[in-house]
Amino acid sequence: MAYQMHFGPVLDRAPEFVDGTINTILLSGQGIVIGLAIGLAVAIIRVEGPRWLDRIAVAYIEIIRNTPLLVQVFLFFFGLPYIGLRLSADTSAIIAISFNLGAYSAEIFRAGFLAIPKSQIEAGLALGLTRLQTIRYVVIVPALKVVFPALTGQLTLTLLGSSVVCAISASELTLAASKVESLTFRSLETFLVAGAIYVTLTFVFRFTYWLISLWLFHRKDPARFQIAGALPHGQERVEA
């Protein structure tokens, strides 16, 4: 007996899906921004910080990367109230996702830093820059360029992984889909729709990363820098 698909009842619940989608964007968007900030800070600590701080950073990375995201989410939501810290499901979800991404992205950023030749850093220092200024102005952009594909891959994992927080009823797309499913009993159709939305979301996010990469790694038009009397663009470029 062939199954007849009926999307009608599911699509009638479009507002729930829209809400869920918006919440997933907000949740992973905030998680990504905070997580990347944590990751960058931890990576800088790992390459430049004092030994004791580096030890703490390593411990943080190892703990996060060797435990499931779901357990981390449960810890923040169910565990913290026992030490007097009661967080809403949504807040716990953002914090857990941020800390999770922080650990993974820290190692990616660190790989980028290590890929930059020491001579570049020495050139910065020799010009009188501090170590932090050297990282800020000399190292970060080329380092990001090296690891950009790895980083965006990780961010996609974070976006998709955000679905596990439905386990603590944090508002997001998978939770919305579950509700629709329990109301319509159209499991197949419901999760096909949810899946399609996730695919669309990853494309939108990846497009955003691509725009960011254009902004980060773009080259200024040399014409803007030409001074009177210089040869026209193209002619002025001598052997590469």
């Binding site: 020799a126 010009l127 820059l129 102005y137 820098f225 030409q226 001598v238």
Partner: protein, 243 residues
């Protein structure tokens, strides 16, 4: 008062001393060439002078700053001492103007219009005024090295250190970089150059230092040193160059 004075500096890795009690005094407007075999400690000495390497003994006095073993605050010194490297080390994500303006802007808080003026001036000085907007990978090795010199000049250094700056270049490109350095010498810049270009050392440097096994083996006026080497080590070192 000398611009640079090395007092018995030592730099050792375990039992191996790559710099074994170096004494050297460089007067303002001096151009000192440092020659010697690979591994004789030339580059290491240069790197100690602006603190890229730590010394283990002795002290260095340089334009009013003192470096001793364990000295860490080297930024004020580096503002006044330029360094140019063998591998150019231009920043690949910045164009020529940005490469040159970075340190004045960040380290000295020079306003942008002023930094821009300076960038154009130093680029003209090295003969690359038309390359302000180019990126490092669009330039030849010789051009990159001249931009690196300009970048260093933009900080208005009192002393410049050159670490085998032509070793990665073919003879023609070497020529254009050496010409730039000779012009700086003529303009009265105090310079220490580690080099394998014997002819250039003889011509442009008023003094030459020959290093051998971590020590200054022989030094003197370039003319005297090359025409009448005293030690057998220096004689055999420069022999292949005296065709």
């Amino acid at each position: 008062m000398p611009a640079v004075q090395l007092n018995n500096i030592k730099k050792c890795y375990g039992a191996l001393c790559v710099l074994d009690g170096i004494n050297l005094s460089v007067e303002p407007r001096d151009v000192v060439a440092v020659i010697g075999q690979s591994g004789s400690g030339k580059s290491t000495m240069l790197r100690c002078i602006n603190g890229l390497e730590q010394i283990q003994g002795g002290s260095i006095d340089i334009v009013g700053h003192r470096i001793e073993p364990g000295t860490h605050s080297l930024r004020s010194l580096r503002k006044e001492v330029g360094m140019v490297f063998q591998s150019y080390n231009l920043f690949p994500h910045l164009n020529v103007a940005e490469n040159i303006m970075l340190a004045p802007r960040v380290v000295k808080n020079v306003p942008k219009p002023e930094a821009w003026e300076t960038a154009q001036m130093v680029l003209k000085q090295v003969g690359l005024a038309d390359k302000v907007g180019a990126y490092p990978d669009e330039l030849s090795g010789g051009q990159q090295q001249r931009v690196a010199i300009a970048r260093s000049l933009a900080m208005k250094p009192k002393v410049m250190l050159f670490d085998e700056v032509t070793s990665a270049l073919d003879p023609q490109l070497t020529g254009e970089v050496l010409k730039t350095i000779a012009e700086l010498a003529a303009a009265g810049m105090t310079m220490i150059l580690v080099t394998h270009e014997m002819g250039f050392a003889r011509q442009v440097a008023n003094r030459t230092v020959f290093m051998y096994k971590g020590q200054i083996w022989e030094e003197g006026r370039s003319e005297d040193l090359f025409s009448a080497p005293k030690t057998p080590e220096l004689r055999s070192f420069i022999a292949p160059n005296l065709k």
